[in-house]
Symmetry: D2
């Protein structure tokens, strides 16, 4: 593969098809979404999903034995960039969170029995799932503070804790819950993931948490607050081995961040297109907005930053494809905070250019703006990713020799004179 | 650099050799430079240049018939990144400005006679050259304001004008001067480049202009102010055809910007290494600086920005290699202003971390900082490049259909209901 | 008045009373607002308003003959800072937009008849008003593009046009509409303000425009889209003289911007308090958030920026009080864009520190964040205010003599030597 | 400055005189400085100093008994703003560092004997002084790491250590040295200041450290590196009481920071004037630079930021005058980092607008730019001041009650309903 992230012509055709399809069939859903009910909406979505399956582009993140195409992260990334342009595209392409991530977890770490019982119906669209990790009272980025616990009592796990921002929690049929199973282990080996049927006694689903994102709880989407009070599940509901919770989370989130960043670029591109179009149409103070230097700065900076985020993300994807996700940890952390800022900044400029129209819900910009704010928070706040990059770089760091002259007192001059004599001799000898 | 833009293994070996060579042989020159005279310094440089020639890495920007290796811009870029780490490396590798650019101009646009008379001795190191374009009283980015003129009188060009920041002007043997030859032509077709021997009567070399970069006029380096007062040169001294001045300048500057940006990354990397090393060594308020979050932010942001600038620059280089410099004009303009900011920001953080030591000349950081300020100005200020990117994007721009719903009055609702009915029918028909 | 903006002790007591009152009586309204209906809410508000009237703090922006206290802008500003802390405070203190501004317009520019007919019932709370200026298809900052017109037909104005973001438009009893009455006049003398009863035939109130601010249309608040189609009103409904529209708008908006900026500071302060409190309570990675340097930077920068915005706003208020609003035009433009950025940045940091909680509607931060985005747009976007400041400064600008040495060619040296001789002589003569 | 912080009319006259004097007599020194030798320069300076003394504006920072005028910090600040416009003004007004600070130390903390022996000749200009605090191997902001020690041996202090950036060190007649005298005391009570005659055996003055500021060692100015090797001075050379070193430093630096910040504003104003003037003179791409929106943004932002820094600094000065320096510690820390950034940003924009001319030494901008970089480092780096502000704010912080609703689980709704009932009852009872 050329490092420009060119892919083979056949796959390029797939991407072209996706772009046309999203524009022709998915964009129109946006105007309709708020005017129809869930049932009506599903009747519109279903045939589009069928078409995607016919194109063999359905749920491509899955392993080939489950229907995926064995695409690596670069290809998946390019697909997610296209899907990012419309909030309804992931549903149409079988990639909607949290089901997509949960199906990956089960595909890679689930037992045969778990796959049969939970994964199959999930892939068939018969059940829905929730990912329940974040806690209201502890920072998710610090593993030592996770407070929800599962204690083995006979052959059952007894779960107690308080979670929120559990995606799809109110309507899911089962939940994958992050719990401490061994509080005395090393920080990143304390937790496990456990499958919990939603109707388990003791699972109290309190509410969908209202957020800046506003009401878009259609199709069950929403972030639930859930109490686990002595909720009991069979021992075999633990996914993988005890203590593997963070390992699985990392595997789930790593490539997921590539997908996030690429979808952000799809969103950014759309905002950028609106920025460009408006600047060419709107007149003010004797000229098009496109002729104002501030607007030109916005366009140029947006173009540069989007290009930067795009190349960095595809590069990280390429590293995963070549060397595995472990090798790209720094690169993935980089794009998480860098990309989230680009997303915000491009949308922010588009809002500003559109003035009151940009602030109104007549355009999708204001919704993009609200959603973009979350990008600096979910999957860990910027601050944690920056810290993680710095630690990654500094861990075992040794400075290249000779990068700066160590003597800062005047003895350096004498050293220089000595060095000169040596060098001269050395070269003379060599000539 | 296996982790990154791979080139073939043989070339990777060349790069590895360069890195070692620069560290072992070029870095030491820095401590010596201020302690020896020009003659002594040249005695140190000469054997290094010979070694570079033996390695077939000398002046690789030239076409193969003049000794280049036919490396494209990606490979040249990777070499310049290494050379950027030390201010003396370009001399050692036959890439010092402005001789490198001038030799390219003559190689690509010079007549056979010009090549023989000027290019050959230049490549042999027997003469030195100057590039004389910038004017004190006109903005270089606006072609309509160029004020130095050449008028044909018989078979001689008579040149009049005022230039400054003419690199190497005080010590050059000949100058390539940008002059208006046809003031009535289209803006970008008014100017030509003319070869002017330095000893031509009427060429008044006033001074080397003192700048923020400080005194580093060793080996003739410096930015001269020059008056041309009825300076006469033969008609055949015009390079290319009349009116091609801006075309040649563009050809000279395009790839040159790739090289600049890659050298900036070499500088940035060195500052970054000093940032990392110091943060691990220095204690303050009960911990290493590396443990302070501000410092971690600096390291993470620097890593992200350098990665962004690097990928963008190599991507632009790759576009030139694949489709020619014309295809990459936007990309080259992007990296010029984006890269110049990264360069400054990384160095600035390193200065700040080192405190008074960073401000002192005991470290190379303060010199890097002063030089970096020029990067936002030469070859056109940031503002002009941003404007050029915006115009490139907006020229002939058409917004993708459907990116936003055009109706913002409530008629949209009705439209949505109609659309829903249509879609439903459409899908039903298709199923 | 001391320039620290200390006021007399008696007024300081008023402010202290306001602070306590807002905390004790207004804050609690916030939790209740979403749980009660309009009627219930008004029953809660009414007694608070009565208390404010007893304190002689009701609608203090009005002239003394209408019940105001003759407070200047500094005092009003300090009051608005306190009111800014809660969205319900302006209603409680008789300062809610757009009624407050509209009542000022009528108080200062209305005829006796207009005052009797419209202002009196407005002050008594018997009717509500709308300000209808912004147009969907023209930039509000460019007076030459205003497209809504009023043409005199007999003794009636016939109004045609399309407005939106007309505050309170859907529930107002009358509207103050900005219309072009003399399209051939100088740009800022083309428009007038006309009083239009809401039930005038031809006034088509289409909808409240949904915005990023979300649904807070309680008590009639909202931004309406309105068509004026041959709406006829009596000639005497014009406010002031024909062509005074922009003059009145300026008078209405100037002090209004002081009030905006001070309310923003009230909002910022509350977000800042949440930032501080949370940083002291929350633990992560082995320490309080307050001990992380990033958080300390946020607190320090917020403190500095709030201090800057506050002093600049009070200083502008002080200039208005001393020299009239005309004298402070540059200062008011400065605080508009400077203050809007501070508002956003402080809230943004508080959101980030609170993580998912900050993004949720469980805290007021997410609402503040959405509202803050509008501050960079209403009353003119940042870009227009920056431009206006620059033009104000550059209009009639003359550089102080001697700020830089005019000769940049080496003749300066000679000049310096001459100057030295002169000076020496001059001083010697003087000693 | 009637438009601003008014002082009494008589003092305003003094300021007006200063402004004229600096413009007429001090600016011209700049072009001359590099062309004459020290002796010649002093012959030019001396009569100006005499004129300043006649105006009773000489060394006004001193207490009245030593010739000061009893001006508070607001007045001193306004004077320093004017002096800041030219690097030679502080010498002319008797305020040059480090003598001004050292004389304050001796005036406020010196014994009668110290005053007679050291202060008197210093004020008479017969001797010069050095302030020797910074160490190359320890961060100056962390008191626990100070490594230079003084041990009492009989009735002599024996000093050992390594200092640098000791202002005026190479030419001073005596040095005030910061040393650890009680290593076991509380962190801020370990150090003392001791007077050391420059000719004391063991005082090894190694060199003036070259810095980004370049060569401006005229009149002895420079930053020396000094070794103290068993340097012995009489016991009575300790200033104040043992352990008061940091207390004296704080007293020396606090008001000094006001003066710094005001001088920075003088520098900024001059750069700003050059920015404005050039924008009106220079044409590019069919219009004045003043008509480009980017340039307008620079002017508007510079105006806003300078206004912010100025009001904040004068406000801090006013607090010192009213409540003593202790009360303004937070305010002084704020302006230190806020002001240093404004200084850099304004100069940076002026450099950018002037292009190659701005980068050249033909204008004072490039020198301003280099000096401005130090402002973020001396007297403590930005990071330390930010940390200090945050700690000041958070120390003993208690959040105002009621700023946010504590219940984030749905019990809030019930609480709200209860609260509503209560309030209603409460109001009803009150009506």
């Amino acid at each position: 593969m050329a490092w420009d992230f060119e892919t083979d012509p056949e796959f390029e055709k797939k991407l072209a098809w996706m772009r046309d399809f999203v524009k022709a069939e998915v964009y129109p859903l946006e105007v309709i979404a708020s005017e129809v009910d869930d049932g009506q909406f599903l009747r519109l979505i279903r045939p589009l999903q069928e078409e995607v399956k016919r194109q063999k582009l359905w749920a491509t993140h899955l392993p080939p034995d489950l229907g995926g195409q064995g695409y690596g992260q670069v290809r998946l990334g390019l697909m997610h960039e296209i899907e990012g342009a419309s909030q309804w595209a992931p549903i149409v392409f079988g990639n909607q969170a949290p089901d997509s991530g949960n199906s990956e977890v089960l595909a890679h770490f689930g037992s045969a029995a778990q796959k049969e019982k939970w994964l199959s119906p999930l892939l068939e669209g018969k059940v829905r799932s929730c990912f329940s990790m974040t806690e209201p009272n502890t920072p998710g980025s610090d593993p030592t503070q996770l407070s929800t616990t599962a204690v083995l009592d006979g052959d059952e796990w007894v779960i107690n804790g308080h979670k929120w921002f559990s995606s799809n929690g109110m309507i899911a049929d089962f939940l994958i819950v992050m719990v401490v199973t061994d509080p005395d282990a090393a920080p990143y080996e304390r937790a496990s993931m456990i499958l919990v049927p939603a109707d388990t006694p003791g699972v109290k689903r309190l509410r969908n948490i209202p957020t800046m994102a506003g009401e878009h709880e259609r199709f069950g989407y929403g972030h639930a607050e859930i109490l686990y009070e002595n909720a009991r599940v069979p021992q075999e509901n633990l996914i993988g081995r005890p203590g593997e919770g963070f390992k699985i989370a990392q595997a789930r989130l790593g490539p997921g961040r590539i997908h996030h960043c690429m979808r952000w670029l799809g969103v950014s591109r759309r905002a950028f297109d609106m920025l460009c179009e408006r600047s060419l149409q709107r007149q003010a103070f004797g000229g098009k907005l496109a002729e104002k230097q501030t607007v030109q700065n916005w366009i140029a900076d947006s173009a540069a930053e989007m290009q930067a985020a795009r190349l960095m993300t595809l590069h990280a994807a390429w590293m995963i494809d070549k060397q595995g996700p472990g090798a790209a940890r720094k690169e993935i952390a980089l794009i998480k905070f860098f990309g989230a800022k680009v997303l915000h900044d491009v949308i922010d400029r588009a809002v500003q250019l559109h003035g009151s129209l940009g602030y109104s819900a007549d355009l999708p910009l204001e919704e993009m703006y609200r959603h973009a704010r979350a990008a600096r928070l979910y999957d860990g706040p910027d601050e944690v990713h920056r810290q993680s990059v710095a630690r990654h770089i500094l861990g075992g760091y040794t400075a290249p020799e000779g990068i700066w002259p160590r003597e800062h007192i005047p003895t350096r001059r004498e050293a220089a004179r000595r060095k000169f004599a040596e060098l001269l001799e050395h070269h003379t000898a060599n000539l």
